[in-house]
């Protein structure tokens, strides 16, 4: 009886407290994007710099158009990762655009490259594919689309620096097996379709060893011509 009376009293106090809170507009979360995207930070870091989990990518500084395309693809379920699909399912386009802009405009420093676990030969093979491709096997160089500095190009081509080998390898695998797709013509799926598992390991390992360039920003749209059509980067 006494317990219930105490509970009711607590309830009334709480209700009064929350009424007061409603009247006080100052007692609100910060009206900022940083506060709104806190749901992203356990996996992607406070400024999108990434976390210790090697499968969660850095978002900071990637082109906003690329990030927006990924948010749309996760929301519709085209790009499958249930925790992301779930978080974004009921968010409108303009909000996803604002999220993409927010992380694109953050510039925390790129991480120090981690020492590689693969042999020198494998790294050399990765470098060759990334910088020259393999014309005999219809594999273009990574740099031919992602830029000579691998920093990407506005608005839709992501930079490849600051990502761990595990993440790049998982994504290339997903492109190869068709579980990650993008707008037609789906250029990355075409490229990844020509890669072997050994190619994927080599390229992912070499990319992860690259140090931060002086200017890590994606280059402006149209800085160079793409070797073939790409649905994510319309001309």
């Amino acid at each position: 009886m006494l317990a219930r009376a105490a509970a009711s009293a607590a309830l009334i106090v709480t209700l009064a407290a929350s009424d007061g809170a409603a009247a006080q507009t100052a007692n609100q979360p910060p009206d900022t994007m940083a506060a709104r995207v806190e749901a992203c930070t356990p996996c992607h870091g406070n400024k999108g710099e990434g976390t210790s989990d090697v499968y969660f990518p850095r978002l900071a500084g990637k082109p906003a158009g690329y990030l927006y395309n990924q948010l749309l693809a996760f929301r519709s379920g085209r790009r499958k990762y249930p925790p992301m699909n779930y978080l974004l399912e009921f968010l409108p386009d303009p909000y996803l655009e604002a999220m993409a802009e927010y992380f694109a405009s953050e510039h925390p420093p790129l991480p120090q490259p981690a020492p590689s676990e693969v042999s020198k030969d494998v790294l050399a093979q990765g470098e060759l594919l990334a910088t020259s491709g393999d014309a005999n096997r219809n594999i273009p160089a990574c740099v031919s689309c992602h830029g000579p500095g691998l920093t990407g190009m506005q608005p839709g081509i992501p930079g490849l620096l600051g990502l761990r080998a595990a993440y790049v390898s998982a994504q290339l695998g997903a492109w190869r097996y068709g579980t990650r797709t993008a707008k037609s013509p789906d250029c990355m799926q075409l490229v990844a379709g020509h890669l072997t598992e050994a190619d994927v390991t080599a390229v992912a390992a070499w990319l992860a060893t690259r140090p931060a360039p002086a200017n890590p920003a994606p280059v402006p749209k149209g800085t160079y011509a793409l070797p073939f059509g790409c649905g994510s980067q319309p001309n």
Partner: protein, 412 residues
């Protein structure tokens, strides 16, 4: 001259009649679109990245997967050859125009309450949208559920046909709310317990239940210990329904979908009517608090660890006293969805986080971070036990096993 004038007048009169008829038709179509939103038809009849109302969305059920049907006016693959009578029979009686039985995944046990005029308006709207030529996909139901004759048994047990009958002892507003909640809103599809036969008995209406396949708990709408709205203000209820957030709590998961697709589009009068009705059906007195299955010593250890976890990870938004910063950072103290008997929803929120729906009234909602990767099963159980029992909350502690089981709950 006189003759010419009268012809002109006649033509003018005819033109006015046609224009009025067109106005009337477009009014009915607009009304139908509004009602189709109230019925949340799109939630099931539009697939991800699919054309509006072209169906083919997979609906996992305990009996197998059902694929929704094309309800665009395409004559070959949609409902282009249907009459308004056919459509009414489907809504009202759960039968296709040829008399075939419809699986009760289509909420015809609720839609049977919809008036003929409203059914006709929805039909007129569906006739006005672009036709999509896309064949329906056959269902993938396990034996024996692939036999439609079984639906006859289900109907005998759980289906009673009949339009909504207003209660003359209640206000027009209450009755409007009842019509929307029980009929087009088909709230009972989730908020009533579902038995092993996939049905709900009348006496259990709105008593709450675990949603099959999704593993979210749809709380009781009648018990104030769950989502009963008896002690909520009308404004808090209408805020929740229209914007997805309120001073008392926030919607996530399947209810976020309902607000996103349907409730945010209802006008103020209809939203208020639903609020009045929902507040009205809440029980006057609360049943006694539930008791915990956990031994006392384990509970108190969990709760003390829980406070440590809470102060470190949660208090910065939800406040040291669980007061939150409503409506965006919901209060946890005196929050029914935290305290209720089923701890499924609070555990899932800690594990998966979530965003309320983006709505006209709240286009850039604040999100709750997922803690699945940061907290152990024990820490999740501890923090949920803490918020269920702190600050006068009258919930019960939960075990690490319950937390662990929900790590594999489906997210879409």
């Amino acid at each position: 001259m006189g003759f010419k004038l009268s012809i002109t007048l006649l033509a003018l009169a005819a033109f006015t009649t046609v224009a009025q008829a067109q106005d009337k038709t477009s009014d009915i179509i607009a009304r139908g679109e509004y009602l189709a939103r109230a019925g949340d038809c799109t939630a099931c009849h539009t697939a991800a990245e699919g054309r509006l109302f072209a169906g083919a969305r997979p609906m996992p059920t305990p009996f197998g997967t059902i694929y929704t049907s094309n309800i665009t006016p395409d004559p070959e693959t949609g409902i282009g050859k249907w009459s308004a009578d056919d459509f009414y029979r489907t809504m009202h009686n759960g039968r296709f125009p040829d008399g075939g039985l419809i699986y009760p995944a289509m909420p015809f046990a609720s839609y049977t309450k919809v008036t003929r005029a409203d059914s006709d308006a929805i039909f007129a709207y569906l006739r006005s949208i672009p036709p999509v030529n896309q064949k329906n996909k056959p269902h993938e139901l396990r034996f024996p559920y692939d036999n439609r004759q079984l639906i006859l048994g289900w109907r005998t047990l759980f289906f009673s046909e009949g339009e909504f009958k207003p209660d003359p002892t209640k206000s027009a507003e209450w009755n409007r709310g009842a019509y929307l909640v029980e009929g087009l809103g088909h709230c009972g599809m989730c908020h009533s317990p579902i038995n092993a036969l996939g049905g709900t008995s009348q006496s259990d209406a709105f008593k709450g239940g675990l949603i099959p396949m999704q593993n979210w708990y749809a709380p009781s709408l009648t018990s104030n210990r769950e989502a009963g709205l008896g002690d909520w203000s009308i404004k808090d209820i209408t805020d929740l329904l229209q914007t997805g957030v309120s001073a008392r709590g926030v919607v996530y998961g399947p209810m976020a979908e309902v607000v996103h697709n349907s409730l945010q589009y209802l006008d103020d009068a209809d939203t208020k009517a639903m609020a009045v009705y929902l507040k009205g059906i809440a029980e006057a007195s609360s049943p006694p608090p539930a008791s915990s299955a956990l031994p006392n010593t384990e509970s108190s250890l969990l709760i003390s660890l829980g406070k440590t976890v809470y102060d470190k990870n949660c208090a910065s938004c939800h406040g040291t006293q669980g007061e939150g910063k409503p409506p965006h950072w919901p209060p946890l103290a005196n929050n029914q969805s935290i305290e209720m008997q089923s701890a499924v929803n609070p555990i899932r929120m800690v594990l998966n986080g979530g965003y309320p729906p983006g709505t006209k009234g709240n286009p850039m909602p604040y999100g709750m971070p997922p803690f699945a990767g940061l907290l152990s099963d024990n820490e999740v159980a501890a923090v949920v036990s803490y918020i269920r029992t702190a600050w006068g909350n009258r919930g019960t502690p939960v075990s690490a096993r319950e937390a662990n089981e929900l790590r594999s709950a489906p997210l879409n």
